[in-house]
Symmetry: C2
Subunit: 147 residues, 2 copies
DNA sequence: ATGTTAATTGAAAATGATTATCATTACCAA
DNA sequence: TTGGTAATGATAATCATTTTCAATTAACAT
């Protein structure tokens, strides 16, 4: 179970940063680490409440804040809004998002440094960070669209 | 005056799409076309009210909506939020944003198609759109930071 | 120029997402 | 086991954005 392992890694990180391990955080981390698509806070809240109907929305927001400060999750940006959340894989990977079903896959962005260097040279800026996301249709949704 | 020209181009586009040219739209378009940095709706509102204290925030939102549907402006995404607006230059240009003063410059993203093709091949997705933004320090802010 | 008409406006209220407050609960080190 | 304290959830508060609606005004025909 890779997911369980990832979840326990996250919990360990939370613990190292001085947080306590609670049942609420267990559930939230479990849902986030096994999600195959980006979630909005409200989506995540709904998923977690299936496991514990008592869990509060505020706790979801607070846990997301901590996970973000630990660099374990990232925001997903879309043209119509940017409230989605997805686990961050190691290294500098970028997201490819299916615009139909929301499925999300990450990929390596090779050779982007060349572009960044060129832009820095042309503009005089120092380029220190970047954000790249791709949008398209996943294999399943392509098949459904064709039929 | 390139800015005036750009502003009148935008107004013409609005007119072609069936909108009326009003003084409120004149002011909003003027501010947007000459802005050198990304603006939040509230920033834009404040700027416009200097020219007409009577102008309402709702009108700003409505005009932004129309300009966006015409493809004349684009959203600017940041890690901490995505409420900013910037004029869109022609073609497929991307934004480079100064994290200190907000100044914004656009650049051409050459050879990105190669990367997109590779990702499409590896994942089975069809890649149909992308979003790329760079963050850094503009020449002025770099100089100030060094002193 | 003038009147007509429908789009546009701004004020105020409504909405929806996120954050702050606070008494209660529960984790965990001693 | 217990005590200190972080964490929780219900509620209220905040902030950005939308909706509503009566009054205004640009565009067009006369």
């Amino acid at each position: 179970m890779q997911n369980q392992t990832l979840a326990s890694q996250w919990l360990l990180s939370l613990q190292k940063s001085g947080c306590r391990i609670t049942s609420a955080r267990n559930i939230i981390v479990e849902e986030l680490t096994c999600a195959q698509r980006a979630l909005e806070p409200a989506d995540l809240y709904a998923l977690c409440r299936k496991k514990d109907p008592h869990l509060g929305l505020v706790t979801v927001y607070r846990t997301l804040e901590q996970l973000e400060s630990l660099g374990l999750i990232q925001r997903v940006h879309r043209s119509d809004g940017c409230h989605m959340i997805m686990r961050k894989n190691d290294g500098h990977e970028h997201l490819l998002i299916c615009t139909s079903c929301g499925k999300t896959v990450s990929f390596q962005g090779d050779h982007l440094e060349l572009l960044f260097d060129r832009v820095a040279l042309e503009t005089g800026f120092s380029v220190e960070d970047h954000m790249l996301q791709l949008f398209g249709l996943c294999p399943e949704c392509r098949a459904n669209a064709q039929e």
